[in-house]
């Protein structure tokens, strides 16, 4: 019978934003919104306007890009700002992530 040893719990060592790789920090992070089949197009447009302060035309352009191409790069920002935007988009239940710009 195989003996499974209990896993050794390692202390949580998480990188702070300051410790993220210099390359990533230099190049910034992209905030990407991904397509989903549930959120209404008008709603997504509204969310982009509310979160980024864009006019309707720009918001609609990105909404259509999400709809037709499956995703849209919304902004390129520092990690902290990108994280803030992703958090805001998640509050509206949109599928959004931040990705290294490299």
């Amino acid at each position: 019978m195989a003996v499974i040893e209990a896993p050794v719990k390692q202390p949580d060592v998480k990188k702070t934003p300051e410790e993220k790789s210099k390359k990533q920090l230099d190049q910034g992070f992209l905030v990407i919104c991904w397509d989903d089949p549930v959120n209404l197009m008008d709603y997504v447009t509204h969310v982009f306007q509310a979160v980024f302060g864009w006019d309707r035309q720009k918001a609609e352009h990105h909404m259509l890009q999400v709809h037709k191409e499956g995703k849209s790069v919304l902004v390129r920002e520092t990690f902290e700002k990108a994280e803030h935007y992703v958090h805001q988009l998640h509050k509206y239940s949109l599928q959004a992530t931040l990705e290294p710009a490299s």
Binding site: K14, P17, D36, P37, Y43, S93, A96, L98
Partner: protein, 161 residues
């Protein structure tokens, strides 16, 4: 639910008695979407964003908890809902309309998840049963209410209501 009037500072809707009941019961479902429904990142090094992911989820959970409290207040404080002869008038600021859009967005997406994340464009139809039909109805209701709320924020457009 029908838009009665709007100004820069206030939007007023009328709800019949049954609509008011349905509105309240729909909002009872909030929140439905789990805080980990979307990753912070799909491609970034997990070690780089792991701690941030946890913080994000905690923050989202806290934010929804506050929203739930605010919803309870809205439904019961006597300031938002005014009883009229044939139902209720709902008074909202534009900021509250935006917040309700978030709330209905959560319920709509949550119902969609309960239905197995159907995607009709890709031929993945919802498998409706007597047990999950309520989610389909609630999802549809949320969508209709979202459209109504969105129209109320656009004074220059014909709302068609």
């Amino acid at each position: 639910m029908k838009l009665l009037r709007r100004s820069e500072s206030e939007v007023v809707f009328h709800l019949g008695k049954r609509e008011h009941d349905a509105f309240c019961k729909l909002l009872d479902r909030y929140p439905m979407v789990p805080s980990d429904f979307s990753p912070l990142s799909r491609f970034a090094d997990a070690e780089d964003v792991g701690g941030d992911q946890e913080l994000l989820e905690e923050s989202l959970t806290e934010s929804k908890k506050e929203s739930k409290t605010a919803l309870h207040a809205m439904l019961n404080d006597g300031k938002h809902f005014h009883e009229v002869t044939r139902g209720w008038n709902l008074h909202l600021t534009p900021e509250e309309v935006d917040w309700l859009l978030q709330v209905f967005g959560d319920i709509r997406v949550g119902c969609w998840m309960k239905l197995g994340c159907p995607d009709e464009m890709k031929g993945k139809m919802p498998e409706l049963t007597a047990d999950n039909l309520e989610f389909y109805v609630a999802m549809d209701m949320c969508g209709r209410l979202q459209m109504l709320l969105l129209h109320s924020l656009r004074p220059t457009e014909d709302s068609g209501l």
